[in-house]
């Protein structure tokens, strides 16, 4: 087992190393560069060339890469040129992580809270109108471009009816104290409950927009697995034993059907984090997705490097943990 894990970790490090090299080379192949964001439209070509020299962008790529690795080893990931100018890229990642985690958290809760009951109901009335409507809804959720849905939500709930905040994470007037960067948690820790509540309200619309796809997934998996479980022997046995349908549902069906749902959620977290790119842009939330988009637009290499490597690391680590878990359950995997 340990040897298996060691091998996989080594493999993972190899993948990450290759990835960092690829990203580094690829970013520098992009047209444009950080010089635009730093100097603006007024600088002459001579001034641009001088800046490239100061930044070391005129050196050969391998030299730049080695310099980058050396700096990274010292905890210095390069300074952001556009997203948060002057801030170390890793710091940008860390300050923006909580926003994304809050948003995805709300989206997951929403997806579960709606997807599971609806999926269960749909399976119970398999083939009925409710079932078909539910399936259709889950499919529509996937087919609507997020940024369009977001606009419609904002126009009605924030502008026309003014029920919910339009964008951002919190009303700046509240002047809330920051502790962890998780605004809801911060409000609770500092007893500024109105700040927590305000941050929560800000999360509703983006949460809904982001939840459409995970909702579809949760709904359909719940529905499918409830259908499967309803068909299993132990349910039939229970029925034969004469247990009431209520008891059967509660004790056997739901519990067994939820296992695959739980497993899927684990896998969905990674996808959600990345899905935040559009949602955060549309709602102007200072999270990782927003940073990623800005960094792309303005060629903020330092930030892009860190964001992509961290996203990939999260993905690879989650997969590694899942694989290890499987290996633990199923010894055959280890020998493969």
């Amino acid at each position: 087992m340990l040897r298996y894990i060691a091998r996989r970790v080594l493999q993972m490090i190899g993948v990450m190393f290759a990835l960092s090299l690829l990203i580094f080379a690829w970013l520098r192949a992009l047209p444009g560069g950080p010089v635009d964001a730093l100097l603006g439209e007024r600088a002459t070509p001579e001034r641009r060339a001088a800046l490239r020299k100061v930044l070391g962008l005129d050196q050969p790529l391998p030299v730049q890469y080695l310099k980058f690795l050396d700096n990274a080893a010292h905890g210095n990931f390069g300074v952001s040129s556009a997203v948060q100018p002057g801030t170390d890229a890793m710091q940008v990642f860390l300050t923006r992580l909580p926003a994304t985690m809050e948003l995805t958290g709300v989206a997951i809760v929403l997806a579960l809270a709606t997807g599971i009951p609806l999926g269960y109901l749909a399976a119970k009335r398999h083939g009925g109108i409710f079932d078909n409507l539910g399936v259709l809804l889950s499919l529509v959720g996937v087919a609507v471009p997020v940024f369009f849905l977001a606009f419609v939500l904002k126009q009605y709930f924030a502008v026309d009816w003014q029920l919910l905040p339009l964008n951002g994470r919190q009303n700046p007037d509240l002047n809330a104290t920051r502790v962890t960067g998780f605004f809801i948690l911060d409000g609770i820790l500092t007893r500024e409950f109105d700040a927590s509540w305000d941050a929560f309200l800000h999360l509703i619309l983006p949460g809904v927009a982001l939840a459409t796809i995970p909702f579809a997934v949760v709904f359909r998996i719940t529905r499918a697995s409830v259908l499967d479980v309803l068909d299993e022997d132990f349910v039939r046995t229970a029925e034969a034993k004469g247990l009431t349908r209520q008891v059967i549902r509660r004790r056997h069906v739901l519990r067994n059907a939820l296992l695959p749902v739980v497993t899927t959620i684990g896998l969905q977290v990674g996808g959600l984090l990345t899905g935040a790119v559009l949602t955060e842009t549309v709602f102007s939330i200072a999270g990782l997705g927003d940073a990623m988009n800005l960094a792309f637009q303005q060629k903020d290499f330092s930030v892009l490097q860190v964001l992509i490597v961290m996203a990939a690391t999260t993905y690879v680590v989650v997969n590694l943990l899942v694989d290890i878990a499987y290996a633990y359950i199923d010894p055959r995997v280890r020998t493969r």
């Binding site: 730093l38 001034r47 300074v79 909580p98 964008n167 102007s284 359950i329």
Partner: protein, 556 residues
Amino acid sequence: MTVSRKAAAVVVFSAAALSLSACAKSDRGSGTSGSGGAGGNSDATLTFAAAGAPSTFDPFYASDGETFRITRQLFEGLVSFKPGTADLAPGLATSWNSSKDGKTWTFKLRTGVKFSDGTPFNAAAVCKNFERMDNQNDAGQSAAEYWATNMIGFKKSKDDLFQGCTAKGDAEVELKLLRATSKFPALLGLSSFSMQSPTAMDKYKANNISAQGEGFAYSEYAKSRPTGTGPFTFSSYDVANKTVTLVRNDNYWGDKAKVKKLVFQIIPDATQRKQALLAGQIDGYDLPAPVDWDSLKKAGMNLEVRPAFNILYLGLNAKKNPALKDLKVRQALYYAINREQLVKSQLPDGASVATQFYPKTVDGYSDGVTKYNYDPNKAKDLLKQAGQSNLTIDFWYPSEVSRPYMPDPQAIFQAIKGDWEKVGVKVKPVTKPWAGGYITGTQGGAAPAYLMGWTGDYNTPDNFLGSFFGSTKGQMDTGAYPWGTTLASDLAKDDSIVDPTQRTAAYKKLNEQIMSQWLPGLPISSSPPAVVFGKGVSGVVASPLTAEDFSTAVKK
């Protein structure tokens, strides 16, 4: 199954732990101080939407409008501009005069002024500021865009316009220049050359700038300790909530600001800014799209239209497309554009067709320049004469951006493209994000034809022409033409003329020459940009330089 659930729990927990510890650290770093919850302000807070994050709070190292909008509220320069105009007015200097040769300038300083940290503003402080600006390390020299383009050199080198500052007593300074220049003293009104507290700059190591990775690492001063004499002082930059907060400077020497707090909230998307204003979440934003002007007014918003102090032009680069070397081709491309229709259909009321490289209000504007009125047949003829009837050209426009002189680049691009296609020119569109390849591409000479523009920093011809043609290797690569160096040297010569009447006449002549004989690019239009405020907000005077002062803002 149970095992995989445990694994999932471990993942979630460790991720949470990681981010928690990370955040605690980051919070300490940023040093924001909270006042402990909501409420407590009897006075108004004005929230204005910004389109992007400020790059620094030290205006000396900045070159972007988002940064300057903030630093203008914090700092003041020796000279300033009369509200609503581009005319000079007293600033921290009450009066000034120059020697006959235009090389020595004497400024009488305002007395009794203090920086917000209590340091007195006096002649010594002024000289410390100028010496500090001039004395930059390598990274600082690359970052200080405005000094580098206006003063040319650093450290009193032989091309450095700045040659020294002497304090004459407490309330008078003398600045020595290398040569006379029409830019002086107007350029001292730029936010970059604002006066900053010498004490704070020393204490927080303002000149400590370095290049790290692909960006500049600024000093603590530039990040969180900007200290000026302005009507507002810096309070905090909340990165997690994308807001910059300034508070009223209660010891300000002039009229105190009428709102207690001034918050800049960063909302990059234009549609969102409009929605936020309509939803009452913000009190104003810059550059509303002309399409929205009427609907905003109907909704009761205060729309302020600024005088058009800008120029939109179509840059041409003959190095990239040799066909453009022929003056006939450039003229044909100009005749082919229906600028009247473009201005009417794509620009707001008040916009006008441009006939030269700067707007009417700038000295040296000539009514006698060659006008290229819309004439597609003439365009076709000229192309035929030049043997370029099948001309194909790459035409660049920026994506996702709105500039004061160009509210909707894509629509303007489409209009010109359509006009060119009518006379048989094949147009290949190229688009890039404004700060993500477009500027580098066009300024670096990669674009044979492109949309670009300029908003005046102050009212001198050189601020426009010098920026376009002062360098033969500039965006329009005038070095590719035989007359490129003549143009550049004429510009330098005219800039050093001390006598204003002579200077104006020289620029008039130069404008006529540029438009008839040279035509390095095609001036398109000047267009009035707007700024919009919410229902209860008034008092901000729209500035042609897009340099509004928020201290006069009143919020009901």
